[in-house]
Amino acid sequence: MLTLKGMITELDGELLTPGMNLEAECAKFFASDLMSDVLAFIKPGSILLTGLVNSHVVRTARLVEVTAIVIVQGKRPDRKVIDEARENRVPIITTGCSMFEACSRVAGSSPKGKR
């Protein structure tokens, strides 16, 4: 079972919201920059991989009960967005991987993960 902690290692990622439960299971994944698609198709409990860094990502994520947000391409949301994520207990992880690379690594470490 891939945990949040394991996924951070796989992605050479950095957790931007300390104090979160890193033992949470990562079994479902959804990659998109379109929050419209996230709202329409994501399953609760998924890991959301995205290149967007605005506050709407956090608001969409909390609404659809995302387990964690992974931000690709080494982008970092500003402090306000990170604070909003912390308040809502939504972990944010940033990785230098491209979207393709991040999806590829996650798929490799969670072959039975649902997409």
Binding site: D33, S36, A40, T50, H56, L63
Partner: protein, 166 residues
Amino acid sequence: MFHVRGVLQGRRVLSERKTITKNSVFRQEFPIKGGDFSRAGEVSWAIKNLLKELGLSTPVALHAAIATYEAELNIIMYAWEGRLVLSVSPGRVQVVVEDSGPGIEDIELAMTEGYSTATLEMRELGFGAGMGLANIKKNTDIFLITSEVGRGTRLEFTFLTNGQRP
């Protein structure tokens, strides 16, 4: 953030907490300002928490949250102002969304997945992909839409809670 200012209309209120008894209705109105992206998501988040507090199941609260988020965004993106009225009664959750705005000329086209008149700004925020109305319909049990060009749009959608007492 929206504070709970709902109105309980019914035989009796069991406690200070928001509780609905048989034949009672919980009703709350939320104003939404067009163009105000900074507050996008507040209404639907309040509704999700409210429904959970009222004892509705997580799937119902989730479907309602998604549908009301889409409706809230539509007002923010396309209308000048609007309001959303939530009514919860035993067996159903009903939402009426009315806006003053440009209205929709071709509702059938607007309901088509992928069809959008969103601006670049909306798309840069991750919205306006043309999924909104279709997604509201997908998440609800009963969906009605009427619109008048130059005046506004009215949505009415209902979640049946299978006799479950909220």
